[in-house]
Symmetry: none
Subunit: 222 residues, 4 copies
């Protein structure tokens, strides 16, 4: 009995280790893909190159991922998960003032864009125009982000005791905010390397954003 128990523990240990190793492999391959997709572009990267960088065989890539497209989709999911977790944490801490919107935008630029240039490259460039499935993934993530920002905007307005000019204003505001920060990331980080000026840019951008939001508050109360 005792021995069996010991065996059990032993097996569970080695099984756990195997599981950990599998996850590690998965991550290593995904990370290699991320690096190469960002560096050379999705279409210009071959599975063989990914396998080489991850120091595994071609077959291993296909053991962990259905095909090349799957790598990109999984990468998008990971990016989406990371980004939404990051912003979600900030949203949860928020005091529902306009200031908190500024803070979230700031976090997006500093902790996502500046810290993970490969991720924005993939999200804003390499995942565009590849295939219907990837496009769906992209669209879904954008829509989720937009609706989360819309909800935050709505809550902030409630916190301020204000209404918007129309019912659909919060969504439009969210779309505008997403657009602003997407373009800032592309313009100042992917195209020009203005990393050092980013915090200054972020400041003005949040002024712009807040001006935009304020302008859609309804004035017909009290």
């Amino acid at each position: 009995m005792v021995k069996a128990k010991e065996n059990d523990t032993k097996m569970s240990r080695s099984a756990l280790r195997r599981l950990r190793e599998k996850e590690q492999r998965f991550k290593t391959i995904l990370s290699a893909a991320e690096t190469l997709f960002a560096r050379k572009g999705y279409n210009q990267t071959s599975i063989e190159e990914i396998a080489d960088l991850a120091e595994v065989s071609i077959g291993a890539v296909y053991f962990y991922f259905k095909n090349k497209e799957d790598l990109l989709i999984k990468l998008m999911q990971e990016i989406g998960y990371y980004l939404r977790k990051l912003l979600g944490e900030e949203l949860r801490k928020t005091d529902f003032s306009l200031h908190s919107l500024q803070h979230i935008a700031f976090v997006f630029l500093r902790d996502f864009c500046l810290s993970h240039p490969e991720k924005i490259t993939i999200f804003f460039r390499e995942s565009v125009g590849q295939s219907a499935e990837v496009e769906d993934q992209r669209k879904e993530l954008f829509i989720k982000l937009t609706s989360e920002i819309r909800d935050a905007v709505l809550k902030i307005s409630e916190g301020l005791g204000k209404h918007f000019v129309t019912e659909s204003s919060p969504e439009l505001i969210a779309v505008c905010i997403v657009g602003i920060y997407e373009r800032i990331a592309c313009h100042y980080l992917l195209w020009q390397d203005r990393s050092e000026d980013m915090m200054e840019i972020a400041g003005e951008a949040s002024s712009f954003m807040l001006g935009g939001v304020s302008n859609l508050f309804s004035h017909d109360e009290t």
Copy 2:
């Protein structure tokens, strides 16, 4: 002499006709590429399909265009030329009031996005992440658009006798405006088909934009 002249005239006539035919061919092929790139995607479209749709031979495509990438670049140039002409005309008519900014945005959505869905598909999706050269073309167009908007914003501020908080504000404002309208086009036209609501959306979007611009006006002047 006379004969030569006759010949000259003759040649010039047929030469002109040939020239016209050549231009026509060029346009037909480019138009076929536009249609297919927008419908099936750049990577999923083969030269043969383009030749078929344009009712020319594969060789003809290569006579008028260096390679497949060249088709996309020429298409981007055409789109860029068209868009800048469209916006340029509006900018020239402007009275340099904030209202004129609204008008330009309106024209962009109505006369470009709504009227040419294939063009925005190519510009905002199919031309992304393809190759360094296409990316450069995209970047260049974006930067030109941005700087034109920046100049307009600057002139408007001068017209209003106002300054911006920093010297780089006009550029940032332009980046934000471009971002807002790019995302609106993607979100409401490529992803959701909200063509009918577009004018309403345009109204709120311009409110947002104007609020953003106003918020970056410097307040330290008498």
Copy 3:
């Protein structure tokens, strides 16, 4: 000694159980292969699928069978063994009249073809044109079957006190008989599903067969 004996008995018991289990495993895997080869085709079936259906690991398949080809060969051997046992039993019961030939054919169609559609699929279709070794196996089985039928035909002719036109007639007769029943199985069972009409078909087929055999009896005696 006693203890050793006890141990021996013990080992022999568990060894027997193990042996039984091993045989069971072997059969389970072979049966899974049979099912899948018949359903999806040999080339379209992967070892993994066989392992899955047999509820064993890929490694287990390779423990019991040298390689994929070996599975097919073992399957052919099993089919051959089964078929020859079936026909052999009938041949042993025979009274060496022409009637017994009829009976054997009948047994072939009813107890082999109708009862084991997967076996005829593999024997008449999936084992064809795969590899030299499989082809050899097929050939060997066909030749054994043919020579058994030849021997039966010979004995029957002796029983009837007749000779054949040439010495090689019995073999040719056997070849013809095998061909007739192979094609009947393919035509009426694999291609058309005429299972219900099979017994009627069998009747006429045996008339044909007997007519063929009779026609090769030599007439130059007494």
Copy 4:
């Protein structure tokens, strides 16, 4: 006018030559595939090998044939066309006596099997068990052959003023005949090389066949 006509003729000439060359290419590639499929087997032959033997590029193979399977299907069609033309000519010449059946069988063995060993290899071995589409092609050809023989048998019986035991007898007879000659071809040509004895075998085989046919004639007529 005259010149135009000349030009026309010229173009038509070179166009014709091109057309001939295209057909030639097609045949060369198909012939290379036939040789290799028969020699090494369908699965063991790569497109590259076919291209090499035909002295064309891999791309050329794909220009003329949709894919590897298409090569096999086209080959089967060609074989089927050839075989049916061969037998059809004989059937047309027939005097609708039992003797003509013998003749057709003889032609099949001599002019098809003996003269085109690669064709029977592909038809009786390499086209078996490859894919649903190839199997359909095979089946269709077999069924056409069978029904042609059935019709011939029917006409012969009419010529002899005889009936068969059942309405479906002619079809069964055709199935048996096809089976007999298929197996003879496999047994004596593909497996054993009994080419020299073929004519002798053919003689006995036709005796067998005729015996079989006669045995299915109905006896209940005056």
